[in-house]
Structure formats: C-alpha cells, structure tokens
C-alpha cells in the first residue's frame, strides 16, 4: 500500500477572498450607477420641463382670441398668427394626402411583394438613407426641382410636397412594422378563404395594420408641422397678411383648389421671423407661437404613444 498522494495545491495557500466584501462592493457600485442613471434622466426631463415653463412664462399671457384672428403686424401687440395657422393647416392637409397613401403603398410593396433582388435591395437601403438626410437638403431639392425647374412657385402645394417627401420614410417604416406584426394566421385564413394576394392585403392586412399606420402618420405629421428649414429654403415669404382663397365656396362646384397655388406662411416660420427681430415684443409673440406648436406636437406624439400602447395591450 502506498501512502495517499498529497492533494495538489494543498500546499499552496489560496488567497483569502472576502466574498461578502465583494458582494457589498458590487451592490454599492450598482446602487451608485442606478442613482446616476436616474440623475441623467432627471436632467433631461428638467430641460424639457424648463423649456415648457419658459414658453409659458414668456408667451402664455399673449395667447388670446385676437392672437388667432390677427394678421402679422409691425406692432407686436397687434400681431397675430391667423395666416400662419391657416397656412400650417392647409400645408398639413396637403402633406397628409400625399405622404400617407404613398408611404403606405411603398411600405406594403417592400413588405409583401419585394423579393430578394438587387432592385429591391437598392430601394430598401435608399429608404433607410433618406431617413438620415437632413431636412434642409429636402428644401434644396424642392428649390431646385419644384420651384426652379417645374416653376410651381413658392406655394402651399410645393411646401406640402416637400414635407411629404420628408416624412415618407417615417410612414414607410411604420407601415412595414405594422404589417410585420400581423399574425401569420390572418394571412393564412385569408388565403384559405380563396382571397388572392391583393385581396388579402386590401381586406385583411391593411385593416389590421391600421392602428400602426395611424401611429406612424401622426408621428410624421407632428414632425412636419414643426419643420422650418425646408420651407425657408424654398423661399416662402415670412410676411403674409392675407389668407389663401377658401377651399369651399358658395358657387358651383363649391370646392376649389386654388389655395394650393397660394403663397403662405406657417407657424414655425412666423415664429422664426419673430425671434429674429430685436424688439422684445416680438419675442413674446414668438414664445406664444412656440407654446402652441409645442403643445400641438406634444399632444400628437402623446396620442401616438397612447395608440402604440393600446396596440401592444391588445396583442
């Protein structure tokens, strides 16, 4: 019988690790980081909050009925945003009518029809790239193409088209995500009933994707309503003391589209114009306009977030 082998390592003294101290240290550092994380969150929340408060302090008192029904004026106390909000509304209608159908159609194509080939690959990468192009470049496109080459002038139609192109990627991406999240069974059930591809899309997929598409459309519109740079670039006038011809009239055919070719101003442009003036009175007007814009975009984004929440709760 041989003596039992000494266990290897038995003679080596293991460094003594105080694991409790390690755990304590880990917990402490975790706790510290959580505090830092919350602090960063609070900092950014404070920035947004102080911005809202700043706009309220500067501009809330200026918002009354006359502010909405007066044209811009040389005297800040008498100036209003009538032409700006009417312009914004008409430009938004034009943008929505162009961007939503186009964006949904492109999204459906990419999600449902596009096979794996070079052309579709190009389209796909292109949409992603367009989302990253600065908005002012869209303005230069509109200036060079719509205003100078097609001679469409600095009109509501041109502004609507420019902003529609700008928000197209947002709507395309939202449509694709909405369609992708529809369960496979819906599609299979439709095919099982004898529907062909287009019927499946039109009767089943699009209705099911509607809330998601709506969310994307709202986010896109809230982006468009605050966009300033591309509209400045096409050379929109900043002093507009008249309204576009009304879209509805008393004479036959009751509806006309002359307003599309009318010069215009929009709220962010009016606000920018007032900021650039030296008099403090105009800064108050700018703050009031900014407050209205801020509330509108926050509301629109809030609705979009709520919609998304509802969609998720349902599925």
């Amino acid at each position: 019988m041989t003596a039992p082998l000494p266990l290897r390592g038995a003679e080596v003294a293991l460094p003594k690790i105080d694991d409790r101290a390690l755990i304590r240290y880990a917990k402490r550092s975790d706790g510290r980081f959580a505090v830092i994380g919350i602090a960063v969150l609070l900092i950014s929340m404070v920035v947004l909050l102080s911005m809202i408060v700043d706009f309220m302090v500067d501009g809330l008192a200026r918002i009354d009925y006359s502010f909405f029904v007066n044209f811009p004026s040389r005297r800040p106390e008498q100036a209003g945003i009538l032409s700006a909000w009417v312009g914004s509304t008409l430009v938004m209608v034009t943008t929505a009518l162009l961007a939503v159908p186009l964006g949904v159609a492109a999204g459906v194509y990419l999600e449902e029809y596009a096979g794996k080939n070079l052309l579709n690959n190009i389209i796909e990468i292109n949409v992603m790239n367009l989302a990253g192009v600065p908005s002012i470049i869209y303005g230069l496109l509109a200036l060079g193409l719509f205003v100078q080459t097609f001679r469409l002038g600095q009109t509501i139609l041109v502004a609507g088209m420019t902003l529609a192109l700008l928000i197209l990627p947002i709507i395309i991406v939202a449509t694709r995500e909405a369609i992708r999240s529809i369960p496979l069974e819906t599609r299979e059930a439709a095919y099982g009933l004898g529907a062909d591809k287009w019927q499946t899309i039109w009767m089943y997929l699009l209705p099911a994707a509607r809330p998601g598409i709506l969310t994307g459309a709202i986010v896109g519109m809230s982006r468009a309503i605050g966009e300033t740079a591309p509209i400045i670039t096409i050379g929109a006038l900043t002093f507009i003391a008249f309204l576009p011809p009304p879209p509805v009239g008393l004479e036959f055919p009751f509806i006309n589209f002359q307003w599309l070719n009318s010069p215009f101003t929009v709220m962010p442009i009016q606000m920018f114009n007032w900021i650039s003036r030296p008099q403090a009175g105009f800064h108050i007007n700018a703050a009031a306009t900014g407050l209205i814009l801020l509330v509108m975009t926050l509301l629109m984004n809030g609705i979009a977030i709520w919609l998304r929440y509802k969609i998720r709760a349902k599925s």
């Binding site: 550092s29 159609a105 492109a106 790239n129 470049i137 230069l140 200036l143 050379g235 700018a286 926050l298």
Partner: protein, 319 residues
Amino acid sequence: MSAGTSARIVAEGGKIGGRFAIDPGFLRRRRIVGFIMQGVLFAAAALSVLVTVGIVYVLLSESVSFFAEISIVDFFTDTQWTPVFENPRFGIITLISGTLMSSLIALLVAMPLGTILAIYLSEYANASLREIIKPFLELLAGVPTVAFGYFALLFATPLFQIFLPNLSTFNLLVPGIVMGIMILPYIVSVSEDAMRAVPATLREGAYALGFSKLQTALRVIIPGAFSGVTAAYILGMSRAVGETMVVAIAAGQQAKIAWNPLEGAATITAYIVQISLGDLPHGSLAYLTIFAAGLTLFVMTLVFNIVAFWLRRKYREVY
C-alpha cells in the same frame, strides 16, 4: 365588409351541389386588378429612389455651375467666406469648422448622457420604469427644432452668461449643448437597441462569474454592443451636423474659422437659411453657393450614415 367580400368570391359562382365553378371573368378581373396594384405599389416604392436621384441631381448640377467659376481647391483651402461681398471669397472650411464645432459639443453632451441612459434602460430599469422613460424620450424627440432654437437663444444663453461672462449672445457652446439634448433620444434608442441585441447567455455567464450589474454592463454589454453603440454616436453626429434651426437662431451668421465655442460662427445649415431668407436672383454665384454648401453637407451626412449602417449591420451579423 372585408370578411364578407372575400367569402363571396368562393360562393358567388358556386353551384349548390358540392361543386364550385368560379366565374372565369371574375378570376380574370381579379388577376388584372392584382397586377395593376402591384405596379402601383412598386411605383410608390420606386419613388423613394427618385427622391434620392432628385437630390443628387439638383445638388450636383447646381454645384457644377458653381465650380465652373470657383476652383474646388480654393473652395476647400480659402479661409474666408464672403459670397455676397464686393470681393467674394468662398472658403467652405469656415462653415465646416462651425458645423463640426457645434456638433462635437453636442456629441460631448449626448455621448455620456446617452450611454448612461441606454445602460440604465437595458440593464437596470424594470418594465414600469421603461414605460415612463421611453415615452418621455419620444416626446423629447418630437419637440420642433425651432422651439429648441428659441430656448437656446433666449433662455439657455442668458443663463450660461451668468457663469461665463465672456459668452457672446450668439455662440456655438449653448446651441451645441441644446443640440446634445436634442439628439439624446436618438442616441439612446440606437445604442439601447444594440445592447439588447447582446445575447442573454453572455449576460447570464457574467452574473454566474459573480459580476455585478455595472461590471456586466461595462465589461460584457458595452464591448459586445460596441459597433452598435459607435453607430449610435455617428448617427447622432450626423443629426447634429444636419440640424438647422438651433444653430441658425442661436449660433449667429458670421462665417469664420470656429476656434472659440464662446463666440458665434455660421454653420453650413445656418448659411443656407441666411441666403434663402434674402432675395438673391436665381443663377447668381451667391445663389449657387447654397447648393455647393448643401452638397458638402449631404456628403458629410452620407458618409456618417454609411459608416453607421455598416457598423449596425456588423452587430446584427455577430449575434
């Protein structure tokens, strides 16, 4: 209506007696409609390519006219930018320096804040806290840029001037910081996306080895999501470079080499706005400058976007 219409297709031509005979005319019409719709949808998707082609065409064709008169070497080496003066000089370097200076300040603000928030969101925050943080970031991202401009010029700059008496009314520092807050949601969402793509097994392995959450985040998650987090920074930079209203309002319009962030300097975007507000005749040299400047801006953001695209695809491939 949707379910009913589809069901009718089958029943419509069907005869009672177990056999279905679908009206061939209906099938033919349906095929034609499907074919036409596919064409329409394709046209809509192809339009997006036309937009890019249009952008490149407009920028290039106007820039070609510009560079026919101004040498491209002068454009990139001259240190003065005075296109509407008696003796016009065209040194885009001045505008590029203003653009890069303000964007770098934005990035210096947004990088640490964004990374901390992204780690917090992906590794620390529980579901209910996420339900607060993510909508908040979305709201922040939705604020119109012109409102940020007002805030930078009339609120933040006077505030900073209390601590920095040397700060000019128009400066690069404050718009830079405000832009940093602006691009924060974007950086958080892209880098959190990358951090969440790191497989749970790596995270669990780190915990099993006794790592704390912070150690896991710093030594496993960030290295694992490195390319994605870098992509987030680059995309943020690209956003800041193309951002217009904040700098147009609060950074001033003086084109000069921007050494000092406490002073104002024009950026490429601010210059384009400045010229667009004036009434320069179409085809004049100063009018053409905005397209040359726009082309420079487009190329800069395109390079950033391509690098970021490549980096993001890389982490998608790894996991």
